[in-house]
C-alpha cells in the first residue's frame, strides 16, 4: 500500500501531511542563498533546517530567515517550477519521511494559475526521484510514484466534506451549493461547488491577498514605533493575537492596522458581490486560507445577513493540506 503525501506550499508557509504517520511539516516558505556547510551548522544537527539539493546547501524556513541575509520566498506564480519550490518540497519531505520511500503526492495551485501551471508542475513530480540530505540527517531519496494537482480551495472544501479516512460525509459542504472564499498571502480563490462538483461560472481566482496589506501595516508600525522594523509574517501573527510587544509591554495592534485592513475587506466584499451575484442560492459559505486566521471573523461579521451559514474554517491554514490528504486517501484508497 503506497503512502500519500499532501503538500500545501503556499506563499507564506509550507504545510505537509502524510497518511502513514502523524508527522507534520510546517515552516515559512523561505529559502536562503546556498552556502558552504559550517561546523556550527553541522553541530546544530536537525535543530536547523537545511537541505542539500543538487549539491547545494539551502537554509530553509526559520533557519533561512535567521541565517541568510538574502532570504526570499515566492514572488511570481511560476515559482512552483523553480529551485526555491523544489528546496521547500525536499525540506518538507525530510520532515515527513525519515527514510528513502516511495509515495504518491497531492499538491495544489491557486485557481488563477491552475490552467497555466498544472501540467508542468505534475510532470516535474510524477516518476521523479528527489534526492536530498537534511542537516544532521542521512541522504534520502523519495520517489514520487504518482502525483495529482488540485486547486487550493477544493482542498479546503474536501477538508470539511470528508472524514479523516477520506470518505464523504453527509453534511451541507458535501451535498449543497457551497461557496469557498480562500484568502491567502497573494491569492483570493473563490470556488463554488454543487455536491462537490465545481460550478465554473461562479469560480474565480485573482492576486488579491493579505501580504501587501501586511507590508503597509509593517511600514506604519515602523514609523509610529521607532526601534522596530517588523516583517509581514510578524505582523500577521500579531494581528491573529490582537497585540504586539513594544518596549516590554503589549499594545493593541488594531488601531494602527484597521485603516489598512478596512480597504482590503471592502475589496474582498466587492469581489464577492461581483462573482457571487445570487447569494440566496448558496447553502453555506466557507471562509478559509491562511489569511482568514487574521481576517475571517471580521469578514464573517460583514457577510452574515447577505450569505447563509458563513463559517470560518477551524485551523484554516491547514485546511488545504488536510483536504489534499483526504483526496489522496480516496484516490489511491489507502
Amino acid at each position: 500500500m503506497i503512502s500519500v503525501t499532501a503538500m500545501d506550499i503556499g506563499f507564506n508557509y509550507v504545510k505537509g501531511l502524510v497518511s502513514t504517520s502523524d508527522r507534520r511539516a510546517f515552516f515559512p516558505s523561505v529559502v536562503g542563498e546556498p552556502f558552504a556547510e559550517t561546523f556550527s551548522m553541522q553541530s546544530a544537527k536537525t535543530a536547523r533546517l537545511t537541505v542539500t539539493v543538487d549539491g547545494q546547501v539551502f537554509p530553509v524556513g526559520d533557519t533561512a530567515m535567521k541565517q541568510s541575509k538574502h532570504a526570499g520566498g515566492a514572488l511570481n506564480a511560476d515559482w512552483v517550477l523553480g529551485q526555491t519550490w523544489r528546496a521547500l518540497f525536499c525540506a518538507a519531505l525530510s520532515d515527513l519521511h525519515k527514510a528513502s520511500v516511495e509515495t504518491a503526492v497531492v499538491v495544489g495551485l491557486p485557481l488563477e494559475d491552475y490552467t497555466a501551471l498544472e501540467a508542468r508542475l505534475t510532470a516535474r513530480l510524477v516518476g521523479q526521484q528527489f534526492a536530498f540530505k537534511r542537516n544532521g540527517g542521512n541522504h534520502q531519496t523519495v520517489t514520487v510514484k504518482d502525483a495529482i494537482c488540485l486547486t487550493q480551495p477544493y482542498g479546503s472544501l474536501l477538508d470539511q466534506a470528508m472524514d479523516n479516512g477520506g470518505h464523504i460525509l453527509n453534511n451541507p459542504f458535501a451535498t449543497g451549493l457551497v461557496g469557498v472564499c480562500d484568502l491567502g498571502g497573494n491569492t483570493l480563490n473563490l470556488l463554488v461547488c454543487d455536491a462537490l462538483e465545481e460550478r465554473s461560472q461562479w469560480t474565480r481566482g485573482d492576486g488579491l491577498g493579505l501580504l501587501e496589506t501586511l507590508d503597509d501595516v509593517a511600514r506604519a508600525m515602523h514609523q509610529k514605533y521607532p526601534g522596530i522594523t517588523p516583517q509581514a509574517r510578524e505582523v500577521s501573527s500579531w494581528l491573529a493575537a490582537g497585540e504586539f510587544p513594544y518596549r516590554g509591554t503589549k499594545h493593541d495592534v488594531m488601531p494602527i492596522a484597521k485603516p489598512f485592513l478596512d480597504p482590503l475587506l471592502d475589496r474582498i466584499l466587492d469581489r464577492l458581490a461581483e462573482v457571487w451575484r445570487e447569494p440566496g442560492r448558496f447553502a453555506a459559505v466557507l471562509l478559509t486560507g491562511g489569511a482568514s486566521v487574521v481576517l475571517g471573523t471580521v469578514l464573517k461579521t460583514r457577510m452574515d445577513g447577505v450569505y447563509p451559514n458563513v463559517t470560518v474554517a477551524h485551523d484554516a491554514q491547514w485546511g488545504n493540506a488536510r483536504g489534499y490528504l483526504k483526496f489522496g486517501m480516496d484516490f489511491w484508497r489507502v
Partner: protein, 101 residues
C-alpha cells in the same frame, strides 16, 4: 548534596493563603522544587494548540450512538450519492488537469 539557597518575598496580605499553606508543609524545599519543576515542564501554548487541534479534528468524525444501536461505518456505500458523483467527476478532471466546465 551541596545546597544552594534562594530567598523570595511574599505579600503578607495578598499572599496570605500561600503563607498559610507553606506554614503547614513539613518540607518547603521539596514543595518549592516540585512546584518549580512542574512550572518549567508545563506544556507551551503551542503544544496545547497542537493537542487541541488533534482532539477537535478527531471529534469531527465522532458519531453519537444510542444505547443498543451500532455505529454506522462511513464507507463509499453509505456516502451521499450525488456528492460521490460530483467528487468522481472532479477526480477525473483533476487527473486530466482540467477544472473548468
Amino acid at each position: 548534596m551541596p545546597a544552594v539557597h534562594f530567598s523570595f518575598t511574599l505579600d503578607a496580605v495578598l499572599d496570605s493563603h500561600i503563607i498559610r499553606q507553606l506554614g503547614m508543609h513539613p518540607n518547603l524545599s521539596a514543595l518549592v522544587r516540585a512546584a518549580l519543576i512542574a512550572y518549567f515542564e508545563r506544556p507551551s501554548h503551542a503544544d496545547l494548540d497542537v493537542k487541541l487541534d488533534t482532539i477537535l479534528e478527531a471529534l469531527r468524525n465522532v458519531q453519537v450512538v444510542k444505547a443498543g444501536e451500532s455505529a454506522s461505518v462511513q464507507t463509499e456505500g453509505s456516502e451521499p450519492a450525488m456528492a460521490r458523483r460530483g467528487f468522481e467527476s472532479m477526480k477525473a478532471r483533476f487527473r486530466k488537469g482540467v477544472t473548468t466546465d
